[in-house]
């Protein structure tokens, strides 16, 4: 059945055009991931953004803890000095250091190095042999 005049009148009314900007937006969403433009920071952090986020969290937590303890900022050389194990000091050296710290006019005389005490001879295998030979 051919359309009548009314139907022909309606057919002549043009539909609105699809907005031009939709084309780029829709095709961009549909593009495969490799072809989508990627920003430089995205390339830097991908493929493991979780690792970067974890490291950032650790830094933030340690910074917050440091602020919380209220300790004075320690310079890196001091940090290195503190972190290094201190050598074991002898008694004489400790007395001298104490005197220096207390600001004594005369450094406490270093005590004479005592001669090692003679101790009773310990049994030696050579003595036993000489006794035995005797």
């Amino acid at each position: 059945m051919p359309p009548d005049d009314f139907e022909r009148l309606l057919k002549r009314q043009p539909m609105r055009e699809v907005p031009a900007e939709w084309r780029k937006e829709i095709l961009a969403v549909c593009a495969p991931p490799a072809s989508r433009p990627v920003s430089w920071w995205h390339e830097l952090l991908w493929p493991c953004p979780q690792a970067w986020a974890g490291m950032a969290a650790i830094w933030v937590i340690s910074f917050a803890l440091q602020l919380g303890t209220g300790g004075p900022p320690v310079s890196p050389p001091q940090q290195r000095a503190l972190s290094q194990p201190q050598p074991v000091m002898g008694f004489a050296e400790r007395r001298q250091l104490l005197a220096q710290l207390l600001g004594s006019a005369e450094a406490a005389p270093a005590p004479a190095i005592e001669a090692p005490k003679k101790s009773a001879p310990r049994p030696q295998s050579s003595r036993r042999e000489s006794c035995a030979m005797a």
Binding site: M15, V18, W22, I26, C30
Partner: protein, 170 residues
């Protein structure tokens, strides 16, 4: 497998028809935008849907209609009622510099909005896509007889609503 180039070709060939059909059905530009994107995204992810098709346009219109129906069902009655005001303001037709033509287009937009969605879909595909009742039936999942009867009811209601203006324009 569809490449980006194929999608561009599909968009250039069919986006206008899909836009008009979806806009007439949903009466909402934002929904139309979402549905159009959803449709092309579906095609990008499943390019095999287009393999061996004889009627590409018919298939895409069917896909668009199904997506639109799903959206309306998801929305529910409450949202549909609150969107009626926005639907009445949707611009379906291109603007005309002739005041009589512009008045006709506005009244026609309103009259189409008063049709049941399924009648509106059939009328749109018949009048503005020039499809046969068999093709419309395939696109909307109806029998050709149902498509024809829905068209008759729809066009008669439009004729009744536009009669004063139509008589004036004759």
């Amino acid at each position: 497998m569809s490449t980006v180039l194929d999608l561009e070709r599909l968009y250039d060939d069919h986006a206008q028809a899909l836009f008009a059909c979806l806009l007439n059905f949903t009466r909402n530009e934002a929904d139309t935008r979402d549905l159009l994107q959803e449709l092309f995204l579906k095609l990008a992810r499943r390019p095999e849907l287009l393999e061996g098709l004889r009627d590409e346009r018919g298939f895409l219109l069917r896909l668009a209609h199904n997506l639109a129906v799903d959206l309306v069902r998801r929305r529910g009655t409450r949202e549909r009622a609150s969107d009626r005001l926005a639907e009445e303001r949707v611009a379906l037709f291109a603007e005309s510099s002739d005041p009589d033509e512009q008045a006709l287009r506005l009244v026609l937009t309103e009259a189409l909005g008063k049709l049941a969605p399924e009648q509106r879909a059939v009328v749109h595909l018949k009048l503005w896509e020039g499809m046969t009742f068999e093709a419309i039936a395939g696109a909307l999942g109806l029998s050709p007889n149902t498509a024809a009867s829905r068209y008759r009811y729809g066009i008669d209601k439009l004729r009744e609503r536009l009669r004063p203006l139509y008589e004036e324009l004759k």
